[in-house]
Symmetry: C2
Subunit: 448 residues, 2 copies
């Protein structure tokens, strides 16, 4: 029996914890370093969104690592968008023609802890909490670490390292100063703030449980996702500056007047609105891109460290988990040639990460503007009809959320879909005006 | 008489040294910190291109600070491009209809030292060489410095600071980690390498002296600029990878065969070609963009620190000097309200920096592809004719190099010019086919 080399994982968030399970299941000794304290003893300090949308790509990786059943126990299916207008009128838009195709609301903290519990139960995995990676010496691959409890500094000599240290990755900051490293961080002019709709008096959900709720209002919006305890977590996505903005809501009166006018049906459901509005942080929304993601046989960036995206397609965690699954395949194919493992991984993932970053930005416009654009709504209706009528027609949303075809391919299919829809809807004002023979011919020609 | 507060300048390169002169002339005490040694005693270690193209924007700032006459003594005018084909045939393309409109080849080292000498002669200015800025504490504006000779570390308590510390600015790296700071660094897939054509046996120039020489070869090129000693500095801009690339020229035979085939007329003039090819570094080409450029009343980024660009429009130094001139105007208008000084400066400069960054990237394509595209060459001819015929018609090159209209406006005028040229050249194959009445009408309508 050969002894496999130990692997360093930096960051015990979602990607790092899942990756540690993948590695341990292959038999690698894993040392996983996390700068925060153990969330199971000290409480979960994410500083990030409370719940996440899990879909097929993430579920695939959880299935591979044997985690899916456990996660499904606290996951709530969401079958579509429930749109709330300013009068409180509701419109439901299903995500798919197939009733079983849905996305799941899961708690970030619960999911992370479930992954940690599994990883820590494996003899190969050693967790080091309160351990900060200060720097990576890219010439040698050595990690400079600080145990933030004892203050002790030490060096990890062993490569290879998998950097799962998030959007503000210390490893990536070091790589940024290496020759010919392309990098960008771009912030939206929007921030987000979380608010809570608690369960009703008998623990019941106070709105439709199995939907992602959206209050689309043109250039901003609020959404809400269900939690297993009967509550919903609302998130307001709102400009930092301008006439209607975080900056403009500078008194309690203005905050309440704004919420009453725009999200009137939600206000009675958010009892601590003002308190939460003042206490909860306004968080920023960033897209981070870089390349290369790896350095020789020394280090690879995984998840947000390599491609932080905005949350509007619900794909941040799913994309990170797909990274882990692809890395796992590359290891099976090429380890212990880590240079080839890492290079194959980054070449497989880069264009797909760029594609989901672009789609996430585009989806913000779709979500917040949904009610405003008649043409868009009509095209959605036609698209839904095409999906029901022609098996091979799938919307971009379905391809991203309910399939594992590469994101870059889903992006291209979205472009093709739009061309087909534009051609079919010329001069049409209702579904009866759509020529289904022409639709079939177009789908046959462009999708096959 | 009021006492003005001391100002910190970080970096004593071209922008930092010029800015120190501007500040001292306004009466501000200036402490200027440079991590390198004094180039006047230790030799100039630029690690950057040897000569630069100086044009109207840079000259304006030198004029304002009283430096222009001294610089002109070692500047060599270049009136146009001298194109070299593979057979050694020469074609001259003038930069302007006006004989007096030219750009100047100047030595980076000489220019920097001339600026340092002037600054140091002023009682307000204190130079600190071998002083590295390790970090800026953005909450307080304090600078953490190391005297690299003594090893002593100390803190500069005083704001305001002007960060002229170049493309790899330590100050900007600190700002990058602040909330909502947009940042990108993008490398070309090309590197550059410098080679030397020495003076002839009697100190004479071995090619036309008053031109910028170009060997355009499709997807790569070599250029040469004259130096006062009779030499030329050649720069090869060449892909890192691929069939014809730095990577592919892996033996002396391949290097010589490539130069003989592509730059045959230059080879006899570069006696130490192989030696220089091996010894001189292959340098990278980066575009850096960021925003904001300033933080409250604490710090402002100037020059390459805020907008490093590729060298193909010869505007890197000119843009940096224009930053200094604009900062000077903002100080005259708003100091000691440094918050307003800095905010006005960044709002005036950002779109112009983006425009010259884009134009510099586009000009690479123009320079390296010049000979290949018949349509492009014909349009150039028509453009030159329009310039001679209509006073108000100016090419984008003229607007960038021979005027001080904002870069963003020059960019837009370039778009307008192209529309006019496209319309005029439809179906035309020679200058006789161009309808001058139509030209006049188009110019009147679009430029006025």
């Amino acid at each position: 029996m050969t002894t496999l080399q130990p692997i360093n994982i930096i960051g015990a968030g979602l990607a790092g914890s899942l990756m540690s399970v993948y590695m341990a299941q292959k038999g690698y000794p894993v040392n996983i370093y996390e700068r925060r304290s153990d969330p199971r003893t000290k409480g979960y300090l994410g500083g990030r969104s409370i719940n996440l949308a899990l879909s097929v790509r993430g579920m695939y990786a959880l299935q591979e690592t044997g985690m899916l059943d456990e996660v499904m126990e606290f996951a709530i299916p969401m079958y579509g968008r429930m749109l709330h207008d300013t009068e409180g009128q509701l419109t439901f838009q299903a995500y798919s023609r197939n009733k079983e195709e849905c996305i799941y609301s899961v708690s970030r903290g619960k999911l992370n802890i479930a992954l940690m519990n599994l990883a820590e139960s494996m003899p190969e995995v050693n967790y080091y909490f309160d351990h900060r990676c200060d720097e990576i010496d890219l010439a040698s691959g050595k990690l400079h670490m600080t145990d933030t409890v004892s203050g002790k500094e030490f060096t990890v000599e062993q490569k290879a390292s998998l950097a799962c240290d998030g959007a503000f990755s210390a490893v990536r900051y070091a790589m940024q100063k290496t020759p010919r490293f392309d990098y960008s961080q771009e912030y939206l002019a929007y921030g987000y703030k979380e608010l809570t709709i608690p369960p009703g008096p008998n623990g019941e959900f106070q709105m439709e449980r199995e939907a992602l709720h959206i209050w689309p209002r043109g250039n901003y919006m609020m959404i809400a996702l269900p939690n297993p305890d009967g509550s919903f977590t609302c998130t307001l996505f709102f400009p930092y500056e301008g006439e209607k903005s975080f900056a403009a809501l500078d008194t309690d009166e203005r905050i309440m007047a704004f919420f009453e006018a725009e999200f009137g049906d939600a206000v009675p459901l958010i009892p601590n609105l003002l308190e939460e509005y003042h206490q909860n942080p306004t968080s920023s929304l960033v897209t981070i891109r870089c390349y290369p993601w790896t350095l020789e046989d020394k280090v690879a960036l995984i998840g947000d460290a390599s491609h932080a995206i905005v949350p509007f397609f619900g794909q941040g965690m799913n994309a990170a988990f797909e990274d882990c699954a692809v890395m796992s395949e590359c290891i099976d194919a090429y380890a212990p040639d880590w240079h080839t493992v890492f290079d194959t991984y980054q070449k497989l993932r880069k264009e797909n990460a760029d594609a989901i970053a672009d789609m996430a930005l585009e989806n913000f416009i779709e979500m917040r503007d949904t009610v405003a654009d008649e043409e868009f709504l009509f095209r959605k209706k036609v698209e839904f009809m095409l999906g029901r009528t022609f098996e091979q027609y799938k919307s971009r949303y379905e391809l991203v959320s309910f399939s594992r075809i590469p994101y870059a391919e889903a992006y291209q299919r979205g472009v093709t879909n739009l061309e087909i829809l534009k051609e079919l809807t010329v001069g049409a004002t209702s579904l009866e005006d759509i020529n289904l023979e022409k639709a079939e011919a177009l789908i046959q020609a462009h999708i096959g």
